[in-house]
Each structure stands twice: as C-alpha cells, then as structure tokens.
Amino acid sequence: MKKAPALRSYTLFYLLFLYGPIILLPIFAFNDSRVVAFPLQGFTTSWFSEMVADANLRIAAKNSLIIALSVATLSTVLGIFAARASVRYRFPGKAPLMGLIMLPLVLPEMIVAMALLVVLLSIGIPLSLFTVIIGQVLICTPFAVAILTSAFQSLDKSLEEAALDLGETPWSTFRLIILPLVMPGIMASFLICFTISFDEFIISNFLGSGQPILSVYIFGQFRFPAKVPSMLALGTVLVCFSIILLGFAEYMRRRGIAKAGGKDSGGFL
C-alpha cells in the first residue's frame, strides 16, 4: 500500500465531522448542567434517572417497539417472497413489479406518507399505530428485498435440485435446505428493518395520529431547552443500542456469505 498522509488525515477529519455531533451525546448526557454548552460543569447521572422516570417516554418506547417488531417481521416476510421470486423464477411483469416494490427507495418519504395519508383520510380509516406499521412496511421492504436478494443469489441451485431428486417436496426442500442457508440474510434483514423503523420519523409523525412514538416524542422534546439533557441521555442509550444491533447484523451477513462460500464484497446493501 502506498502511503498517502494527506488523504489519510483528510479521511480522519471527515470521520471526526461525521461523529462530531454523536460524540457530544455522551459528553453532555453526563454533564451536570441544564445548559448544553462548554465548559463542562461536572459529572452526573441525573439525566438518565430523569429519562427513566419519564412515563410518556416509556409509553413512546413501548409503542416504537411494537411498531418496529411488526414492521421488521412483515417487511422481511414480504421481502422473502419478492427476493425468492425474482432470483429464482422468470415471469411476465417481473420488471415493473420489482420496480414498484423498490420504488420507495427513490421517492422522497414525504410523498409516500402523504399519498397514503390522503387515501386513508378519504376512505375514513382512523390513524393508529396500525397505519404507521402499514406505511413503514412500504419503506422497509425494499431494504429487505435488497439484502435477501443477495442471500438468495449466493445459494447453489444444485443443492435444491439434489433435495428434490432425493424425494423431498418443494416445501420441505425450502424448509430444510434453503431456509437454513438464507437464515443469516433473514436475520440481517430483520435487524436492518427494525433499526430503520425504530428511527423513522415522517410516517410515524403523519400516520400516527399524535400517538407517542419515540422519534416523534424526541422531535417534540428538543423544542424545550429544559428537556434537552434527558433527551441527550436517551440519545446515548439509543446510539449504543443501534451500534450493538448493527454489529450483530454485520456479523450475521458475513457469516451468511461465509456459509454460502462467497467472498466478502463490502458493507450493507
């Protein structure tokens, strides 16, 4: 490798820019002052206790968990159907159907949310956590399809044919051979969809009828300076949480590639 000191220091500086705001999270979450400013005032964990004592926050967190678990499950199941069909079979209308499924990746989220909202309001369906789930599944499914497509692509077709030749039914082949081999992909898809849903704001805000949902709650609280420190404490917890989840998703993805005998070719997506 050639040495490139200028490029290397630029990249480190860039990482610092990326991480800058996130580094501030734990610093001020433990800072003993309601005012978020330097110089630091001393160490405290009172913002964390304030966060734990916040009853509304608990409801919001519970709602977010319900939504994220449902969305991750639904998107991954829908993703399995679409990815399997597109990798394994040729059928009429495949390109437009796959295009429609992946469309939310190239549409501003606001458009997806507003289009759905207009229809829901017009036919008089009341907004609830359920409508949030419906909307977020649209956003998450393309990610699930992308991850699962690469999982299905790395499958060796002859394994499946061997199982069928040896007398397994298509369903038992899927359950006994294919499913275990793509399991790491399914786990990765579930974790990524969970993270996206947990973090999602626009659909939660507009399709949620003002129900407390974590991202919406955080957005509202940042407007009150007195609430900011406990939100920073919450942010610290969430960042740790998502780094653990992502580390796990990345580990699953790599294990999946190793299992299928492929070569690692970069990060997510």
Binding site: R90, M110, I111, L117, T141, D199, I243
Partner: protein, 289 residues
Amino acid sequence: MAQTPGSEARTGLKLISPTAIYVILLLAVPLATVLIYSVLTGGRGNVSLPVTFENYSELWSKSVYGYIMFKSLMVALVVTAITVLLAYPVAYFVSFHVKPERKSLWLFLITIPFWTSYIIRVSLWFVILGYGGVLDSTLMSLGIMDTQLNVASYSILSIIIVLAHAYAPFAVLPIFVSLEKVDRSLLEAGQDLGESRWVTFLRVTLPLSMPGVIAAALIVFIPTVGDYVTPELVGDGKEPMIANLIETQLLKLQNFPQGSAFAVVSMLMVGIVSVAFVLWNRRFIGGAK
C-alpha cells in the same frame, strides 16, 4: 428440473403475489389517487369535480410557491454537490490506500453514524448551532468571538450544513464500489507510459468512477429535496422546503387537490433530475466498455 416456462411463470407470480398486492394497494393506488386529486377542485377536506388545472397554475401565479420549489431544488443540489465532493477523497482513500482486509472496518465506521437516530443527529445540530449553543459557547470561552454567531438563525446555511452532514455516509459507499472496480493495471499502464499520478487520476480513475459518483449524487439528492425535519427544526420553520409546503396544504389547510399538485410537481422534479443524472451516467458507462 423439468419445468415448463408456463409453470415457472405461474410459480413465480404466485410467489411474488403477497408483496405485489401489498405495494399495488398501498403504494400504486395512493400515488394514482394523488395524481387524480391534483386535477380536481378542492374545498376544506373534500374534493369534487370539475377537472381543473388551477392547482398547477397556482404554482406559477403565486411567487411564494415558485420560490419554495426553487429553493428546495437549489438547497438539494448544493447539498448533493458538497456531499459528493467531500466524500470522494474518503472513498478513494479507503479503496486505494487501505489494506483489503481492513476495508470492511473502515466502511463500517463510516456507515455507523448514518444508522444512528436521524432525529437525534438533526436535533443535535440545533443544540450545536443555536443561540448559546455549543459552537458559540466554545468560540466565546476561547476568546475567538465576543458575540453570539447563532448560525442557526441563518436558516438556509444551517439547513445546508445539517443536510450535508446527515447524508454524508450515503455518498461514500457507491463511490467506493465504483473505485473498487477500477482495473489497477490500467493505472500502472498509464504511469508506465509516462503520465503523472495526477493526470492518470484525471484521465483514467475519475472517468471510470463516474457511475459511482452519479449514483451517490442521486442517493443524496432524492431524500434531501424531500426533507421535512431539517427545515422544520433547524431553520426554525422560517425557511420551509417543499415537504413542509405539502404538509401545510394537505394537513393544515386540508386542501387535498392543491397539496396533491405540489406532491406531483415534486415527484416530477425528482424524476427529471434523476433522468438527467442517469443519462449523464450512460455516457460514462458507454466510455468504459
């Protein structure tokens, strides 16, 4: 396996049908509804005939709307340009100067901030740039400034900073992927034939990595042009962008046709810019054969 094309098509269609039905009902139908609503007459909370193009002509006749559309487009383009320019050297460094076994780790480090709560990241900038915030208090305690800069009050500037930060990791990945595909022997050939490093970069590496650059630009442009949170929070709501405009029309004024027309126009904007990028991309793919 003995499968006729007909049975393969049937199995495939059956397999994709749950997902397909879901997106047709919940994505295609709503988008079509917006399209239809945009040419209807609207009152408070209802839509009716006759068919009219007034919702669209309203866009040209009221200069506020035109200004917001133009501003959204400009902010998104500036953010895209900044993000891609800042990301390119990083992608280049990881692709050309990092040992292959360490590349995944670097990419992981670059992507982590993107996966941490978007709302918290954007809100943090509010805390950093705002009045009495981290930036001002730091500058003042170091004696560099003696008055508040209050960058957050320069709405458009702070919107650009925050968006460029929020979507930065997005840009690195596609550029990295295209740089990885550049055949290293071409670079050696260029240098063996007497080109300088810089000229080799300009004439070989850069053109070959253009598809990645354009993909990165698209990935950044699409969400930024439709961003709702940043103008709402950082710009103090004083500098609405197109998403905020759609919200005002649809939800606050309950004018479904007008809001739909804005939504359609913003989709067109995204569509036109995307097609332009893709056509531009085609030039480079053609050249790379």
